[in-house]
């Protein structure tokens, strides 16, 4: 339906694309000293413009070119992604400068990854869903292995790539079955035909395998157990700013796509995928937390913790009430709350890890000892992020947990709620281990170190974000309820 093409709706995507190209040209022509501040500057300007372009269209409800939804659900994720990538860029200025010469490519890839996120979260067609997710994956492989002379970075990228390629092939097989079954790739049309039983004769039984196969692809992106094995390695080996990106934006995209595909294309198969996600949620949070308990590297511990958090986010999707209307505690708004709270909190925790790596060379638990004496600001920031991860009010993590627990309890999934509660307590255990290390273990002979300026700004912004989401919970809840209800085709 090309006659419905409204270019204004694609403005955020176009801005990102142009900015990525500009960044590459700046890198070609600017002198090294100028490039050092100009590259991140241009990238951030592009992201801010894209943010404004997306924010200005808030409230639009239409499908562009028959394949991309311009609805408030998509805009919500776009805004979160744009803000988070700005923070990632601020945090990576010094980190990447000291590790690679190819700065232009790095920022351009980050922008293209954001573009892929924008496409994926608004895709309303199996083809665009695949295109968005796959573009994001391919760019993420490159970003993960960006330090190509570093064995760990390369190993992380190889593992991520091999898992990712297989997961996307499996997901595609599911998509092909879904296409064959219904004869269309449009999500809303698939839902209509499944509902009406207007499917290929003698092939009705492939619906269930198709759901499982498609879920594998989404579960891989969102790093749900048992498709999580790549995550700890990729998160640990990747340059830490890239880890910030993977663990927040990339993961959120997995959830956004999962929510849109399951809710708009397969509402009639709800009992299948809800049961599947119920099991995955319990498995994910438990396995993630148990393995996190025995980690000695803070970076790797946070990697497992972010797997566990994926389980919490999934709780919201399990408890989606049909129809996910415009009232609070509908499950989907919990997913949205969690995503924004988690973006600030987890990106913040990984940013502190990046700063400690910069100052001390490594992110082992041992290197966090006595951090309060050596870099008080970092220690204080880390304390805030860890408390938020543990879900302490009035921080963002508490608001997020509230909005995923409430719908689960309301749907009377008590088993899930109890497992999640136990997991939240277990998680607090290993977060406090880091706090103890930072504040109560004294190591007199270690020198103090400074924090880079961009990193300090990023940390301040994230601290403000963590308090903001927690304190102005009502406003964020209002936005997420609106966005959840605004998903087209619900």
């Amino acid at each position: 339906m090309l006659n419905t093409l409204n270019v204004v709706r694609l403005l955020p995507e176009l801005i990102l694309l142009v900015t990525a190209l500009v960044v590459i040209f700046v890198d070609l022509y600017a002198r090294r000293r100028t490039a050092l501040w100009l590259l991140p500057g241009v990238s951030i300007a592009g992201l801010v413009l894209a943010f404004v372009a997306a924010f200005a269209q808030w409230g639009a409800q239409e499908v562009v070119a028959g394949t991309l939804a311009a609805d408030s659900f998509a805009f919500y994720f776009k805004l979160v992604a744009a803000v988070t990538v700005v923070l990632v860029i601020l945090a990576s200025v010094r980190y990447m400068r000291e590790r690679t010469r190819f700065l232009g490519e790095f920022y351009a890839f980050l922008l293209v990854a954001t573009l892929a996120v924008f496409v994926a979260v608004s895709a309303t067609d199996l083809i665009t869903v695949y295109l968005g997710l796959e573009t994001l994956s391919i760019v993420s492989y490159v970003l993960t292995g960006f330090l190509r002379d570093d064995k760990r970075s390369n190993e992380a990228a190889i593992k991520y790539f091999l898992y990712g390629a297989v997961a996307s092939a499996i997901m595609l097989y599911g998509f092909s079955l879904l296409y064959g079954l219904t004869g269309t790739t449009d999500l809303a049309e698939i839902a209509r035909r499944l509902q009406a039983g207007d499917v290929l004769a003698n092939l009705e039984w492939v619906a269930w395998p198709a759901v499982i196969l498609a879920a594998v692809g989404f579960a891989f992106k969102a790093s749900l157990v048992p498709f999580h094995q790549w995550a700890p390695d990729a998160y640990e080996g990747a340059p830490t700013p890239v880890t910030m990106f993977l663990s927040t934006v990339s993961k959120a995209t997995g959830f956004a796509v999962m929510a849109r595909v399951f809710l708009t294309a397969m509402p009639s198969l709800g009992e299948y995928w809800m049961a599947l996600l119920y099991g995955l949620a319990i498995l994910t949070m438990t396995v993630g937390n148990l393995i996190a308990l025995r980690q000695t590297s803070v970076k790797r511990m946070l990697a497992y913790s972010s797997i566990a958090h994926a389980g919490f986010i999934l709780m919201g999707l399990v408890a989606v009430t049909a129809p996910a209307g415009g009232h609070p505690f509908n499950g989907l708004d919990g997913v949205l709350m969690y995503v924004v709270a988690y973006a600030f909190t987890n990106a913040g925790a990984f940013a502190v890890v990046a700063a400690v790596e910069d100052g001390t060379g490594d992110a082992t638990l041992d290197n966090f000892a006595g951090l309060i004496a050596r870099a008080p600001f970092l220690a204080a920031a880390m304390l805030i992020f860890l408390l938020s991860l543990a879900g302490v009010p009035p921080l963002a993590g508490f608001a997020a947990k509230l909005f995923v627990f409430a719908p689960v309890v309301r749907q009377e999934y008590y088993a899930l709620a109890v497992v999640a509660l136990v997991n939240a307590v277990v998680a607090a255990g290993y977060y406090l281990k880091v706090v103890k290390q930072m504040f109560f273990v004294e190591v007199p002979e270690r020198p103090a170190f400074a924090v880079a300026r961009g990193m300090r700004w990023a940390l301040w912004l994230m601290i403000i974000g963590v308090f903001g989401v927690g304190i102005f919970m009502n406003w964020f809840a209002f936005m997420s309820v609106r966005s959840a209800a605004g998903m087209l085709g619900l």
Partner: protein, 102 residues
């Protein structure tokens, strides 16, 4: 004419063969070849469904072309990573890359 189910059966066999290759091979390039087999199975599926159920609507055809294109991009990035791996370690055996674990 060959019935649709035969194509689907071939695709399913190809998919499982590819998956077996992925799980059993130790050489990164061979694993990538397994993935390509899986993607080919997907394309056979898509084209068979397209041809037999609705040749007048190009969605299936377009999907197959896009899968081909993206698979090429993916292979390019993958092989580049393997070359970097080989330069670092003189081997592309996935059993030997185990710096990151725990």
């Amino acid at each position: 004419m060959v019935p649709l189910s035969w194509y689907l059966a071939v695709a399913a066999v190809l998919f499982v063969l590819g998956l077996f290759g992925v799980l059993s091979r130790r050489n990164a390039v061979a694993i990538l070849m397994g993935v390509e087999l899986m993607l080919n199975a997907v394309n056979i599926n898509l084209l068979a469904f397209w041809r037999y159920t609705q040749p007048e609507n190009v969605a299936g055809l377009v999907f197959a072309v896009i899968v081909l294109t993206v698979a090429a991009a993916e292979a390019a990035v993958g092989l580049a990573l393997f070359i970097a791996l080989y330069r670092l370690r003189e081997s592309v055996n996935v059993d030997e890359i185990q710096l990151l674990k725990g």
